[in-house]
C-alpha cells in the first residue's frame, strides 16, 4: 500500500539529521498522512490534555508563585521548594509517612492482588464472580468507615470493648488519636481496601492464558503449581504485571483519603499525614495554592521515578 511505503519513507527521513523546520514539516506531513489515527485518539487526547496535562503544567508554573486562590499569583522563584525542604518540618513527616506507605502497602498489596487473583482463578465461574465482587467491594464502596467504629477510642468501641472484656487493657486506648498506633492502623486499613484495578487486571490476565501452554508444560514435566506459576503463567502475564505494578505502587504514593477520614486532617501530631494530605491542608485549609502545587510537583516526580524503577525491576517479565 502506498501509505505504508510513505511511512517507511518518513521513518527513513527521521534517521537523517534534519534542521528544525524540516523536521516540523515532516511531522506535519506525517500527521496529515495519519489523520484518521489522530482523529481516533482525539476524544481521549482532548480530555487528557484538558484534565491532566494542563493541570500538571499549571501546577508546575504555580509552584513558583505565591497564590491564595483569591488574588493574583506572585512569582517568588524557588522559594516554595526551599521552604519545603529547609523549613517545613511537617513536609518531612509527610514525606516519611508517604514513603512508609509506598514501601509497605505498595509491594504488599501488589503481591496480595496477585495471590488472591491466582487463588480465585481456580474456582468455578460462579464462585469466581462472587469472590471477585467480595474482594473488590471494599475498593468500590469505600466502606472503611467501619474501622472508625472498630477503632473508636470510646470504651464501647469494638476493639476497646473486646480487649477490656478479655482483660488485656483496663482503660480504652485512643487508637486513632495516639501517635503510637495511628499510622499502623491506617496501613492495615489501606491494605484491606487495596485490591483494586490491578486485582481485576490480574484476574483478566489469568483468564486469557493459553491453556495449551500449561498442557505442554505438564507433558514436559512441570511437577507442581508453583513451577507452573513461575515458568508458564507469569511469563505470559508481562503486560498485566507491569500495569498492575504501576497502578498499585504509584497509587500507594497518593494515599490520604483513608487517613483523613479515620484520623482527621491534620491528624494528631501529623502522625498519619501524607503528601496528599499535606497538599490538601495547604490548598484547602491554608489557601496556599502555590506551595501546595510545589508539593504536588515533588509528589509527581516521585511517582515518575517509582515508575521507572518498576520498569527496571519487571523488565524480565515484560515482552517489550
Amino acid at each position: 500500500m502506498a501509505s505504508v511505503s510513505k511511512q517507511r519513507e518518513i521513518e527513513l527521513l527521521k534517521k537523517k539529521k534534519l534542521s528544525f523546520s524540516e523536521r516540523a514539516a515532516l511531522t506535519w506531513r506525517s500527521m496529515k498522512e495519519n489523520k484518521i489515527n489522530y482523529l481516533l485518539i482525539m476524544p481521549f487526547m482532548v480530555f487528557f490534555t484538558l484534565f491532566t496535562i494542563i493541570p500538571i503544567a499549571a501546577s508546575m508554573v504555580l509552584s513558583f508563585t505565591r497564590y491564595d486562590i483569591l488574588n493574583t499569583p506572585i512569582f517568588i522563584g524557588w522559594n516554595n521548594y526551599l521552604r519545603m525542604f529547609l523549613e517545613d518540618s511537617v513536609f518531612l513527616i509527610a514525606l516519611k509517612n508517604t514513603l512508609k506507605f509506598a514501601i509497605i502497602t505498595g509491594p504488599v498489596s501488589y503481591l496480595l492482588c496477585f495471590i488472591f487473583a491466582w487463588f480465585i482463578n481456580d474456582l468455578s465461574p460462579v464462585a469466581r464472580a462472587f469472590f471477585t465482587v467480595v474482594f473488590y467491594a471494599p475498593t468500590l464502596a469505600n466502606v472503611y468507615f467501619i474501622f472508625q467504629y472498630l477503632f473508636s477510642s470510646d470504651m464501647y468501641g469494638l476493639i476497646n470493648s473486646i480487649m477490656m472484656n478479655l482483660g488485656m487493657i483496663d482503660e480504652p486506648i485512643a487508637w486513632l488519636k495516639n501517635t503510637k498506633y495511628m499510622l499502623n492502623i491506617v496501613i492495615i486499613v489501606q491494605l484491606w481496601c487495596s485490591l483494586g484495578t490491578s486485582f481485576l487486571s490480574f484476574i483478566a490476565g489469568l483468564q486469557n492464558l493459553d491453556p495449551s501452554l500449561a498442557e505442554a508444560g505438564a507433558i514436559d514435566g512441570v511437577r507442581n503449581r508453583f513451577q507452573e506459576l513461575f515458568y508458564i503463567t507469569l511469563p505470559q502475564m508481562g503486560g498485566m504485571l507491569m500495569f498492575g505494578a504501576v497502578m498499585q505502587i504509584s497509587s500507594s504514593f497518593a494515599v490520604g483519603g483513608i487517613s483523613s477520614s479515620l484520623l482527621g486532617n491534620p491528624s494528631v501530631d501529623y502522625a498519619g499525614h501524607t503528601l496528599v494530605l499535606h497538599i490538601s491542608d495547604f490548598g484547602h485549609t491554608r489557601f496556599e495554592l502555590g506551595y501546595a502545587s510545589a508539593i504536588a510537583v515533588v509528589l509527581f516526580a516521585m511517582m515518575i521515578l517509582s515508575k521507572a524503577l518498576i520498569n527496571k525491576l519487571l523488565a524480565r517479565f515484560s515482552h517489550d
Partner: protein, 1021 residues
C-alpha cells in the same frame, strides 16, 4: 499509659496461668494443700482491678449512705425510694380515682380575684364579653371556691390570647390548690394560642405557583380544659377537692391573656356511641341524602402556626390538582403530630340528618402505627368513641370513614347528626389507644435505667465476666425490682396485644421480658449480659417515643349523608399511570427551580445556602412571600456545598451573599479581600445592636490602615450562636447526696463521689480545646492578644488552665471519646457539658428523663475578692452571613447591588424573620433542629420554655467570643497536639504548650506579614 496497659496485659496473663494451675490442681488431689494457696492468689489477681475500686469505695469519699459498701458481711441498705416515683399526676390520680364521678359544676367569674401576683386589670367589657380580667405580665391569680361535694374536678378555662407579648409561644400554666401543687405535673401545663392564615384567598406568583400565606395570631375566646402536657391521659386533668372552701391559684408564666371564667366540673361517664344514636333517633333524626366536601387546607384557624397547608402532586386525586405547579392542597403531615395540636374547620350543612365523615388522608410516616385524632363538633366531643379515631398506616393516600370496631371485631362507621346550617369541626392530636401503654412503658424505661445504674455502681460499665458480683445480695431489693418491672411488662404486653392483635413493632417487650426472667432465675448472668441489657432499654425507649408521634396529612373531608353511597376517593390503577406519565412529561417542560416572585425592576440577588434542603426551602418561602414583595428585589436561592465557595468566587460565578457559613470562613476570605467590610455601611452600628455584645468578635479583623492607624473591619453578621451549658442528672445527684458544681473546684470535689460509683463526667476534649479557652477566660484573661496578633499561651494563667484541663484526663481519667447522649441517658455520665441546643435533643429523645435532669451555667472560677463566680464560656459554634465583594463588583450596577445585598442582610438578621425562619425550620425538621438564633429579640420568639430561656440567657451574659485569628487553623490543631501529647504520652504540659505555641505564633506572623497586616515587635526579628 504504656506501662499501665503493659502491666495489665501481664496481669491478665498471670491470671490465666493461675487459673490453668487451678484447673490442673483440681484434678490432682495430691497437692491439695497448695491448691488452697494458689486458689487464693488467683482469685486475688483476677479481681485485682475491681478490688482497687472497692478499696477506694470503702475509703468512702462520699456520705456513707450513698456509696455501696462492698465486700463486707453486713447486708447493704440501698434505698429503693428512687425506683418508685411518686408525686406525679398518675400517682395522684390513682390515689383519688374513686372520686372521679359526675359532680355538680362550679363556675367562677375570673374577676373574683382573691389575691394576685400578676399585674392585671378588670375590664367591664372586652372583646364581646363582660367582666373579664386582663393580665399584664407573668404571675398568678388566686380564686376562692366553695365545693359542695368532694370529688375530682376538671378545670376548664375560658380565655382570650392577647397578642401584646408577641412571642407566640404556648402559655405555661401552673395550678395550685390551697397554695400547694397537688402533683409535680401541675407545674407544667400549657394552653394553646390560636393561629390563622393572614390571607383567606390564595395568592399566586408570576409562574402560577400558589404562595404560602403569612401566619398570624388570631385571637378569639377559647374554652379549653387543662390537660396533661404529654397527652398520656385521655381525659382532662382532674383535681381532688374536698367539700368546703378552697383557694385555687392559676399562674400564667409566659405571655398575657384575658380570662373570662374558670369552670370546675366533672360530667362523669361520657355518652357512648350507641346512646348518642339512640338519643338522636328518639328526636326523630333520619339519614341525610346530600354529600358535600371540605378541603382540609381551607381551615379557619389552628393551635399552631406550624401546621400549614402544603402541596402534594404525587397523587392524581388530590384536590386542587396540578401536575406541575404548586397548589396548596393538603394539610398537616409530619408537623401535625404532637399531642394537643388542633385544627378547626367550619362546615355548611345542607340539610338535617345523619352524615358519615370520610377523610382522604396519608399516614405513610410511621410504619405499622396508627395516628389518632379527637373529633369535636361545635366544641364538644359528641360521644366517647370520638375521643380517639385512628388513621392507620398505608402508603400514599387512603380513604377512611371515621368509625370504630365493635366488641366482635367488626368495623362500623360513625354517623354524626348535623342540623342544617353552620357547624364547627375540630380535630386534635391525641395518643389514643396507646396513651396508657406509652405511660406505662415510660415507667418501665425509667425503672430499668434505675436498675442499670444500680448495677454499674457495683460492677462498673465493663464488668469482669469471670467474677460473680453477687448482685442480688449487694443491691438490696434488686430481685424485687426485677420482679416488679417484669410484672409491669407482662401487663403492657397484654395491653399491646389487646389493641393491635400482636406485638408487632413492640417485640422488644418480649425480648426484655425474657431477659428479665433470666436475670431473676440466674442473677450471676447479669454482668455478662449488661451491655445487651442496656441496648434493650434504649430500644424500648425509642419504641415508647414512637408511640407519641401521631402524624397524618389530610387532603379533604367528605361529608356523605348516611343514606347515600359516597363518591370514590381513592385513585385506581389507570388514573395513577396517567398521572405518572403526565408528571414525567411535564418534568421536561416546567422549571421547578424557578419558584418565586420576580422583581419588576430586574434587581436580583443570588444567595447560597450550605446547610440543607429544608433550610433552603424555608429561605425560598420567606423571600418569595416577604422579601421580594417588600423590596422589589428578587432572590435566587442556591443549595451549594460551601466548600466550593472560594473557587466559585475566583471563577466569577460566586453568590452575592453566602449564608450559614462556618465561623472561620468570613475571616479567611475577609483578609484576602473577597468579602465586603460591613463597617462601611452607615447604619452598621445600628444593626449590631441586634446581637450580643461579643457576637461580632469572630468576624472582626484588627489591623492598621495605610496611614498606620488601628482599624477594625467586620466581614459578616452572625446568624446563630451556640454555647455550652452544664447538663446534670438531678436524680443521681440527689441519690449521691451531692449538689451541682458551680465552680471547677466544686467539680473536683464531687468527681470522686461520682467516680466511686463507677460513673464519670463528660467533658469533651475534641472540640478544639474549648474547655482550655473557657478556663483562661474565667481566670479573667484572654487566650489571644487584644489585636489578635499573637496568643497568650505562654502566660502563667494559660499554663495553669492547660494543666487543669489536661489533669481531668490524666488524674481523673475522664474519657476523651464518648457518646454523651446515651451515657447521660443511662446515667453513666450524670454530668456533661454540652451546647445549649442539646436541650431539645434530650427532651425529644429521652422523655423518660423529663424532670430528672437540669441545665445550669458551666462551672466557673470563684473570684475570692468579689465573691462572684466567673462563669465565662467560650462560644462553641457560630454561623454567619456575608457579602461577597468580588461577585458584587462584577455586577452591572455594583453600587445598587451592594445596597440590595445589605438590605437583604438586614432583613435576614432581623428579629421577625430570624424567628420565623427558626420556627419554620423547626417545623420542617423537628424541635431537635431548634434555631439558636444570634438575634436577641428573635430568641424570645423561639419556643423555649421560660425556665430554659432563663438559663440560656444567664449563660449568654457570660459568653465571650474569641477572635478568629489570621492563620487561626493552626491554633486548634496545635492545641489538640499539645493535649494529646500530654494525655497520651504523659509529656510535660508546660513544655508541650510552649513548643506548640511557638508553632502557632510563627504561622500567625507569617500569614499576617504576607498580607501586610500589623505584627508585634518580636515577630519582626
Amino acid at each position: 499509659m504504656k506501662d499501665k496497659s503493659a502491666s495489665s496485659v501481664l496481669r491478665s496473663f498471670l491470671a490465666v496461668v493461675m487459673i490453668l494451675i487451678m484447673a490442673f490442681s483440681m484434678t490432682t488431689f495430691v497437692f491439695a494443700d497448695e491448691v488452697v494457696e494458689n486458689d487464693a492468689t488467683a482469685a486475688g489477681d483476677t479481681a485485682a482491678g475491681a478490688e482497687k475500686e472497692e478499696t477506694s469505695t470503702n475509703n468512702s469519699y462520699g456520705p456513707a449512705d450513698t456509696v455501696i459498701p462492698e465486700g463486707s458481711n453486713n447486708e447493704t441498705q440501698v434505698s429503693v425510694v428512687g425506683f418508685y416515683r411518686s408525686g406525679r399526676y398518675v400517682d395522684y390520680y390513682t390515689e383519688y380515682q374513686q372520686y372521679d364521678v359526675a359532680l355538680p359544676e362550679i363556675k367562677v367569674d375570673a374577676t373574683q380575684i382573691v389575691s394576685a401576683t400578676a399585674p392585671n386589670e378588670i375590664k367591664a367589657s372586652y372583646e364581646g364579653r363582660n367582666q373579664v380580667v386582663v393580665t399584664k405580665g407573668a404571675g398568678s391569680l388566686t380564686y376562692q371556691i366553695n365545693v359542695s361535694k368532694t370529688g375530682m374536678y376538671a378545670i376548664c378555662l375560658e380565655y382570650f390570647p392577647l397578642l401584646g407579648d408577641g412571642n407566640g409561644k404556648d402559655y405555661e400554666i401552673a395550678v395550685m390548690v390551697d397554695g400547694k401543687y397537688p402533683h409535680s405535673d401541675a407545674k407544667r401545663f400549657s394552653l394553646k394560642r390560636n393561629w390563622a392564615d393572614e390571607e383567606d384567598e390564595s395568592a399566586f406568583d408570576s409562574v402560577g405557583n400558589e404562595l404560602y400565606s403569612k401566619q398570624v395570631e388570631s385571637a378569639k375566646w377559647m374554652t379549653k380544659d387543662i390537660r396533661d402536657p404529654d397527652g398520656v391521659f385521655d381525659d382532662a386533668v382532674k383535681f381532688y377537692l374536698t367539700e368546703g372552701v378552697h383557694t385555687i391559684t392559676i399562674s400564667v408564666n409566659t405571655g398575657v391573656l384575658a380570662l373570662d371564667s374558670i369552670r370546675f366540673y366533672n360530667d362523669g361517664e361520657e355518652m357512648s356511641y350507641a346512646d348518642y344514636i339512640a338519643m338522636n333517633d328518639s328526636k326523630g333524626a333520619a339519614d341525610a341524602m346530600e354529600e358535600f366536601v371540605l378541603e382540609a387546607e381551607t381551615y379557619i384557624d389552628k393551635s399552631e402556626s406550624l401546621i400549614q397547608p402544603a402541596y402534594d402532586r404525587s397523587d392524581p386525586k388530590v384536590t386542587p390538582y396540578s401536575i406541575s405547579k404548586t397548589r396548596l392542597n393538603v394539610l398537616g403531615g409530619e408537623n401535625w403530630n404532637t399531642n394537643g395540636q388542633t385544627v378547626n374547620w367550619q362546615i355548611e350543612v345542607p340539610e338535617d340528618g345523619y352524615y358519615t365523615i370520610g377523610v382522604r388522608y396519608r399516614q405513610s410516616y410511621v410504619e405499622d402505627s396508627t395516628s389518632f385524632r379527637r373529633i369535636y363538633i361545635d366544641g364538644e366531643v359528641p360521644f366517647e368513641e370520638a375521643n380517639a379515631v385512628g388513621f392507620p398506616f398505608g402508603s400514599g393516600y387512603n380513604y377512611k370513614v371515621l368509625g370504630d370496631v365493635d366488641e366482635n371485631g367488626k368495623a362500623y362507621d360513625f354517623k354524626f347528626y348535623l342540623t342544617k346550617g353552620q357547624h364547627d369541626l375540630s380535630m386534635e392530636v391525641v395518643i389514643g389507644d396507646m396513651a396508657r401503654v406509652s405511660r406505662e412503658a415510660e415507667d418501665i424505661v425509667y425503672q430499668l435505667n434505675y436498675i442499670y445504674r444500680k448495677i454499674i455502681m457495683v460492677t462498673g460499665t465493663t464488668p469482669d465476666t469471670y467474677r460473680d458480683y453477687e448482685l442480688d445480695k449487694k443491691i438490696a431489693g434488686l430481685m424485687d425490682m426485677f420482679k416488679s418491672v417484669h410484672e409491669d411488662m407482662l401487663l403492657v404486653e397484654e395491653e399491646v396485644i389487646a389493641i393491635n392483635g400482636n406485638l408487632g413493632s413492640a417485640s422488644i417487650i418480649n425480648t426484655l421480658k425474657l431477659q428479665l426472667q433470666d436475670f431473676i432465675a440466674k442473677p450471676y448472668v447479669i454482668p455478662d449480659r449488661l451491655s445487651t441489657f442496656k441496648d434493650n432499654i434504649s430500644t424500648l425507649s425509642s419504641w415508647m417515643l414512637a408511640l407519641r408521634n401521631q402524624p397524618v396529612q389530610f387532603d379533604k373531608l367528605v361529608f356523605a349523608g348516611s343514606g347515600i353511597v359516597p363518591t370514590r376517593q381513592v385513585s385506581n390503577f389507570f388514573e395513577n399511570v396517567s398521572h405518572e406519565v403526565r408528571a414525567f412529561i411535564s418534568s421536561f417542560v416546567d422549571d421547578y427551580t424557578s419558584v418565586g416572585a420576580e422583581s419588576s425592576t430586574g434587581r436580583d440577588l443570588t444567595i447560597w445556602v450550605g446547610t440543607g434542603r429544608d433550610q433552603a426551602t424555608v429561605l425560598k418561602t420567606l423571600t418569595t412571600n416577604y422579601f421580594t414583595p417588600e423590596t422589589d428585589i428578587s432572590v435566587n436561592v442556591g443549595l451549594v456545598p460551601l466548600g466550593i465557595l472560594e473557587k466559585a468566587i475566583v471563577a466569577g460565578r460566586g453568590p452575592d451573599i453566602a449564608l450559614h457559613i462556618g465561623r472561620a470562613t468570613p475571616m479567611n476570605l475577609g483578609f484576602r479581600n473577597a468579602v465586603y467590610d460591613l463597617t462601611q455601611f452607615s447604619d452598621f452600628e445600628e444593626v449590631t445592636k441586634r446581637f450580643s455584645k461579643y457576637a461580632l468578635v469572630p468576624y472582626t479583623l484588627s489591623t492598621n490602615d495605610d496611614a498606620g492607624n488601628p482599624v477594625k473591619k467586620v466581614f459578616a453578621l452572625p446568624e446563630t450562636q451556640d454555647f455550652k451549658l452544664m447538663f446534670y442528672r438531678s436524680d443521681i445527684f440527689a441519690e449521691l447526696g451531692i449538689s451541682a458544681p458551680n465552680t471547677w473546684d466544686e467539680l473536683d470535689d464531687v468527681l470522686p463521689y461520682i467516680q466511686a460509683n463507677n460513673m464519670t463526667v463528660g467533658l469533651d476534649p475534641n472540640a478544639s480545646g474549648e474547655t482550655f479557652y473557657t478556663l483562661i477566660l474565667q481566670s479573667g484573661h484572654t487566650p489571644y492578644r487584644e489585636d489578635g496578633t499573637a496568643t497568650n499561651f505562654t502566660e502563667q494563667y494559660a499554663i495553669d488552665a492547660f494543666e487543669r484541663w489536661t489533669r481531668y484526663y490524666l488524674q481523673y481519667d475522664l474519657p476523651t471519646d464518648y457518646s454523651w447522649y446515651s451515657r447521660f441517658r443511662n446515667g453513666e455520665m450524670p454530668l456533661v457539658i454540652q451546647g445549649y441546643s442539646s436541650i431539645t435533643y434530650l427532651q425529644e429523645s429521652a422523655p423518660e428523663l423529663n424532670g430528672l435532669w437540669k441545665v445550669a451555667p458551666v462551672p466557673g472560677i470563684l473570684d475570692k475578692e468579689t465573691g462572684v463566680i466567673n462563669r465565662t464560656d467560650q462560644s462553641s459554634g457560630m454561623s454567619g452571613c456575608m457579602i461577597i465583594e468580588r461577585t458584587i463588583k462584577k455586577a452591572k450596577n455594583p453600587e445598587q447591588k451592594l445596597q440590595d445585598a445589605w438590605t437583604f442582610m438586614k432583613w435576614w438578621t432581623s428579629a421577625d424573620i430570624a424567628a420565623d425562619y427558626g420556627n419554620r425550620v423547626e417545623m420542617a425538621i423537628g424541635s431537635v433542629a431548634r434555631y439558636s438564633t444570634a438575634n436577641l429579640q428573635a430568641f424570645e420568639k423561639i419556643k423555649w420554655s421560660s425556665d430554659e430561656a432563663a438559663v440560656i440567657k444567664a449563660q449568654r451574659e457570660w459568653t465571650r467570643e474569641t477572635p478568629e485569628l489570621v492563620g487561626g487553623y493552626y491554633v486548634s490543631r496545635n492545641i489538640i497536639n499539645a493535649f494529646r501529647n500530654v494525655v497520651n504520652n504523659s509529656a510535660n504540659p508546660r513544655e508541650k504548650l510552649f513548643y506548640y505555641n511557638n508553632e502557632i505564633n510563627d504561622e500567625i506572623w507569617r500569614k499576617r506579614s504576607e498580607y501586610h497586616l500589623s505584627v508585634p515587635e518580636e515577630a519582626r526579628k
